[in-house]
């Protein structure tokens, strides 16, 4: 009998993913009554928490509630830009801050919330101070930080490590040494959803930081000429290609999408030993992996140092928070509802608790007790430790840059991982869009 149980599970797993995508296509934006609209990302378990906050708010405000619509991550990034450009934006715009928010702010598409935060200084004080940086454009605040701190974490499957008889890596050299060990046993060293592109980018973010420190990418942000050709940048790009050449990533990584969580499945099914992914991955592993997380199968750590590198190994990369902005095209009434939602609906106790149960560290302060009491306390401690002790928290590159530069970056990252361009060609292509 060639048909194994796992293969049936594989088929079964494919069905909900496609059903979810099909469902997302039919749920267009709808505006009804005087209520505000709110678009955000789907995908459990995060979607449930976001919907829970809206439901709670709507229950308290039956007449002027919020209508929510959900989208897949990569689809949303294009959809929201198009909608804003066409004047069809939702009242509440969910996002990652940074370069994209700067584009919106420069075009006058989002409300300036500086004075609102002055009036509601208690709210401002209740949120992590560092989370406001990507929400600020030229000294003005255009978004409210929400949800949680999302550092990128190196996950590993403890069972697979035991099976092969090896220890988690403590340096880049360890990583390179582990690669042949796992390959010899028919296990992929690293899972990677390479078609989503930003997944590959996380590798570069860490390697740039560990080898050259945060200054290397900061120079790009500041528009320094030929910043991508920095020797440390070239070294980092070379290192990642060495890992690809050594078969460090799962077979077929360039056709795997992160939106379908196929990369997550590779880790909890033991087809891959390690995975570099955002802190939200913990919640997905917990929800989808059966008893994988509960049974202590999931290991996690900060990205290890690179020998001879200048970067502080406590540094991290990822999303300092998620962000909610208000469309400047919304009606006064819609804006009023949105602001009321910000003040009384976002990061309330129930939502904070839900995030913590998923292994996330909310951007709201004063949650230490809840974190310690959670069933995910161990991961939260690591997650919170990485986020709070980080010397530098580098924002995800594609969000920190303008959409035009980010697209060139993502495009070339794929080619870099395909080994179809050299580190020098990569640097050349990106130097051309610095400051654009």
């Amino acid at each position: 009998m060639a048909l194994s149980r796992r293969s049936l599970l594989g088929l079964a797993a494919a069905v909900p993913a496609s059903a979810a995508l099909a469902a997302c296509g039919s749920s267009g934006p709808g505006k009804s009554g005087g209520g505000a609209t709110y678009w955000y990302l789907n995908g459990q378990p995060q979607e449930g928490v976001r919907a829970g906050a809206v439901d709670a708010y709507n229950k308290a405000h039956p007449d002027d509630g919020i209508e929510d619509t959900t989208f897949q991550n990569d689809a949303y990034k294009t959809k929201i830009k198009t909608a804003i450009g066409a004047g069809q934006a939702p009242t509440i715009i969910w996002g990652w801050g940074g370069g994209t928010l700067r584009t919106y702010a420069k075009a006058g598409q989002v409300e300036d919330l500086t004075s609102w935060f002055e009036e509601h200084s208690d709210i401002k004080k209740s949120l992590l101070a560092t989370s406001f940086d990507p929400a600020t454009v030229d000294g003005k605040i255009y978004a409210m930080p929400c949800e949680n701190v999302q550092p990128v974490v190196l996950y590993y499957n403890k069972k697979v490590f035991d099976q092969v008889g090896v220890e988690p890596p403590e340096s880049w050299d360890d990583i390179m040494a582990l690669v042949p060990e796992f390959n010899a046993k028919g296990i992929a060293p690293f899972s990677l959803g390479g078609q989503s592109r930003w997944t590959n980018m996380m590798w570069l973010e860490f390697l740039f930081d560990r080898i050259g420190g945060p200054e290397v990418f900061q120079a790009v942000i500041e528009g320094e000429k030929n910043a991508w050709s920095h020797p440390d940048a070239i070294a980092a790009l070379t290192k990642v290609q060495e890992l690809v050449e050594a078969d460090g990533f799962i077979k077929g990584f360039s056709s795997i999408t992160a939106d379908s969580n196929a990369d997550q499945a590779l880790l909890y099914t033991g087809k891959a030993a390690m995975m570099l992914h955002g802190s939200w991955s913990y919640g997905i592993q917990q929800a989808d992996g059966g008893d994988f997380v509960a049974g202590g199968g999931l290991g996690y750590m900060n990205f290890p140092p690179v020998d001879g590198g200048k970067g502080d190994p406590s540094n991290t990369v990822g999303n300092p928070a998620q962000y909610l902005s208000i469309s400047s095209k919304a009606t006064t009434e819609e804006k009023k509802i949105a602001k009321d939602f910000f003040a009384t609906g976002v990061l309330q106790d129930a939502e904070v608790k839900a995030w913590i149960d998923n292994g996330s560290v909310p951007v709201r302060l004063g949650t230490e007790k809840l974190l310690a009491a959670s069933k995910s306390a161990d991961f939260l401690e690591v997650n919170y430790g990485i986020a709070s002790k980080a010397g530098t928290f580098v924002q995800s590159w594609d969000q920190a840059l303008s959409p035009t530069a980010a697209e060139t970056l993502l495009d070339n990252i794929v080619k870099l991982f395909q080994l179809s361009i050299s580190p020098k060609q990569f640097a050349g292509a990106l130097n051309a869009v610095i400051g654009k």
């Binding site: 060639a2 048909l3 194994s4 796992r6 293969s7 049936l8 594989g10 088929l11 797993a13 494919a14 993913a17 496609s18 995508l21 099909a22 296509g25 990034k77 294009t78 830009k81 198009t82 804003i84 450009g85 584009t103 919106y104 420069k106 075009a107 598409q109 390479g194 078609q195 799962i250 077979k251 077929g252 990584f253 360039s254 056709s255 795997i256 196929a262 499945a265 590779l266 087809k271 303008s402 959409p403 035009t404 980010a406 697209e407 060139t408 495009d411 794929v414 080619k415 395909q418 179809s420």
Partner: protein
Amino acid sequence: MSSLTGHPPRRPPRSILPWLATPALVVFVGFAVIPLVGVFALSFTTWDGIGTIHPSGLTSWRAVLTDPGLPHALWVTFLVMAVSWAVQTPLSILLGTFLAGRQRYRAVLGVIYFVPLMLSSAAIAIAYKALLDPNFGLGAGLGLQLLSQDWLGRPGLAFGVVVFVVSWQFVPFHSLIYQGGVQQIPHSLYEAAQLDGAGRIRQFFSITLPQLRYTIITSSTLMVVGSLTFFDLIFVLTEGGPGDATRVLALDMYKRGFQASLMGPASVIAVILVLLGLALALLLRRLGGRDAGASQLEGA
């Protein structure tokens, strides 16, 4: 085929005739001509899709025409067009001829062949993507090494998969066109051939194929011009990847416009697409002789 019988067709007065075209004309102008003019105008501007539109002369044209990505996308587009035409046409003609027979089992098979046409491109792409997944797909599930290739992760294979899925989706449609074409060939031609002792294969090459000439032109025009706009299927299946191995022109336009927020260059590509489509359609009409619209069945 049924024809209306009973009332003799009453010709409407001549003065009304031009007005009958009005609804179609309004729709055509509203949804084709005006956007076309808009895109043409946008190709001379710089716009990020969100802020204000700045006129910038030929900047966008220069940027696109000097970008090495353009010849590559053109090459991929033409390759998809040529290969999928070469795969689909013989298959569709054979299937169409087969289905044109009056036997009942052929009618039943015809219904089954028709199924892919009823599915949306996105659904087809998602299904194939799941089936071809090297780690959780059909090959891995059934334990077949041959099927568990890195189908969508290697440039050559991914291109082949795109052509295969496109063909799988559209062969039924073109078979239908050919079926209609074959059924209109006068039966007397075959009878005469039979009397002269021509076998089935000889009949196919000497009667069916030549008689299908205009059907081939019609079907090829649809295939070739249609392949310029392949987008949804490739977008969901490979997103133009791996790298840019399957990045056709339409996808390139979308990526520039909506992902990189460069509406000017994206409009340039849109204009190039329109010109290409028109040129190809004209060329195919020329190939089919001047009176491609005329019936080949005169006197039958």
